[in-house]
C-alpha cells in the first residue's frame, strides 16, 4: 500500500467521516504503517479534537498552501504512535482557500514519504468535496443504515465515477445489530444491493465511540470495544487482508431462538 492516497467522503454530513478517517489512520499506524491524516474540512476543523491534538496546532494546511510555512511545519506528530501525523484544516478560512491543484501538490509531496495519506472530505458535493477527491488513488464512501444517508451515498458514488476516481468502496457506520435482527434497520446486504459497490468496513453502533471522543483517544486503541475491533478490521482490509464481515454477528438471544423454534 506504499504511497496510497485515500479520500473519505459521504455526501451527507454527520455520518462519521472524521471518526472513521481518524480511526482508520490510527489503525493503520498501529499496524506499523507510516500515516498522515489531512483535515479537508477547511473552516470547520474537527480532526484535531477527534485525535486529541487540538492544543498542539501552530500552522494549518492553508498556511502551507499560501507559503507561510513549510509542509513539515504543519505536520503534527501523534506521540502515542511512532508514525502518525495530522495536517489540520484552517478554522478561519473557507473551502476556496485550498484548490484541487493545491491538494494534489501537497499530496504528491507526502506520497513518497508515507504508506498512507488519508484525506477527510467535507460534507456536500461542492468544491470542498472535489478538492478532497482530486488527489485520491482510492475513495471510501461512508454511510449510515438510513434512507437519507444511503441516498446521498449513491449520489456521491455517481460523482466519484464521473470524476474517474471509482469504483469507490463502502463503509457502513453505526449499524445496530439488535435493530437489524428485528428487521427495523437496513442491513449490509440491503445496502450492498442498493449501492452496488464493495463493502470494506462495517462499524457497529457503540456508545464507547462518544466516550473515546470525549477523551480525545480514538476508539481503535481499545481492542475490547465492538467499534474498536471493527476499526482494526477495517484497517486490516485496507492493508490488503481478507477478513470476514462478522462485526455485527452477535449471538442470537434466547428469545430469538425461541421465536425461530415456533416460527
Amino acid at each position: 500500500m506504499a504511497g496510497t492516497i485515500f479520500t473519505i467522503t459521504s455526501g451527507k454530513g454527520g455520518v462519521g467521516k472524521t471518526t472513521i478517517t481518524v480511526n482508520l489512520g490510527v489503525g493503520l499506524a498501529l499496524r506499523g504503517k507510516k500515516v498522515v491524516c489531512i483535515d479537508g474540512d477547511i473552516g470547520l476543523r474537527n480532526m484535531d479534537v477527534i485525535l486529541g491534538l487540538e492544543n498542539r496546532i501552530v500552522y494549518d494546511i492553508v498556511d502551507v498552501v499560501e507559503g507561510r510555512c513549510r509542509l513539515k511545519q504543519a505536520m503534527i506528530r501523534d506521540k502515542r504512535l511512532p508514525e502518525l501525523y495530522l495536517i489540520p484544516a484552517s478554522q478561519t478560512r473557507d473551502k476556496n482557500a485550498v484548490s484541487a491543484q493545491d491538494m494534489i501538490k501537497v499530496c504528491s509531496e507526502l506520497k513518497s514519504e508515507f504508506d498512507a495519506v488519508l484525506i477527510d472530505s467535507p460534507a456536500g458535493i461542492e468544491q470542498g468535496f472535489k478538492t478532497a477527491v482530486a488527489p485520491a488513488d482510492k475513495v471510501f464512501v461512508v454511510t449510515n443504515p438510513e434512507v437519507s444517508a444511503v441516498r446521498d451515498a449513491d449520489r456521491i458514488i455517481g460523482l466519484i465515477e464521473a470524476a474517474e476516481k471509482g469504483p469507490a468502496s463502502l463503509i457502513i457506520n453505526r449499524i445496530n445489530s439488535a435493530m437489524v435482527n428485528r428487521g427495523e434497520m437496513l442491513n449490509q446486504d440491503d445496502i450492498n444491493e442498493l449501492l452496488a459497490i464493495d463493502l470494506i468496513g462495517l462499524i457497529p453502533e457503540d456508545e464507547n465511540v462518544i466516550i473515546s471522543t470525549n477523551k480525545g483517544t480514538p476508539i481503535v486503541f481499545d481492542e475490547k470495544t465492538k467499534a474498536g475491533r471493527a476499526f482494526r478490521n477495517l484497517a486490516a482490509r485496507v492493508d490488503g487482508e481478507s477478513i470476514p464481515f462478522d462485526e455485527i454477528g452477535e449471538k442470537e438471544s434466547f428469545i430469538d431462538r425461541f421465536k425461530k423454534m415456533f416460527g
Binding site: E146, V147, V150, R151, D154, R155, I157, G158, E161, V180, R182, G183, E184, M185, L186, N187, D190, E193, L194, L195, A196, I197, K259, F262, G263
Partner: protein
C-alpha cells in the same frame, strides 16, 4: 416468516429498501414519473401501428444491474396472427 413474524413485509427495513430503490432509480436517471409516462405513451403509439396490443398491458421499467440501469419493456401481444 412464521407465526411470530407474520408481518415481515411491514417491517420498516423492507419499507426503507423499497422506497430507496424507487428514489435511486429516479436520482440516477434524472427522469420523472411524468416523463416516463409520456415516453410510454409515445412508444404505445408506434407499437399499435404494427401489433395488436392492449396499452394497459405495456410495462416499461428501469432495472438495476449493479450500478448500471437498463430500460426493460414487456409488451404482451393480444393476437399473434398478422392483421
Amino acid at each position: 416468516m412464521g407465526f411470530w413474524n407474520r408481518n415481515a413485509d411491514s417491517r420498516s427495513s423492507t419499507t426503507a429498501k423499497e422506497r430507496l430503490k424507487f428514489v435511486l432509480v429516479h436520482d440516477r436517471t434524472d427522469i420523472s414519473l411524468q416523463t416516463m409516462d409520456r415516453m410510454k405513451n409515445e412508444i404505445v403509439e408506434v407499437i399499435v401501428r404494427y401489433f395488436d396490443i392492449d396499452p394497459a398491458d405495456l410495462v416499461i421499467d428501469i432495472h438495476h444491474e449493479g450500478r448500471n440501469q437498463k430500460l426493460v419493456a414487456d409488451v404482451p401481444i393480444k393476437n399473434t396472427r398478422q392483421k
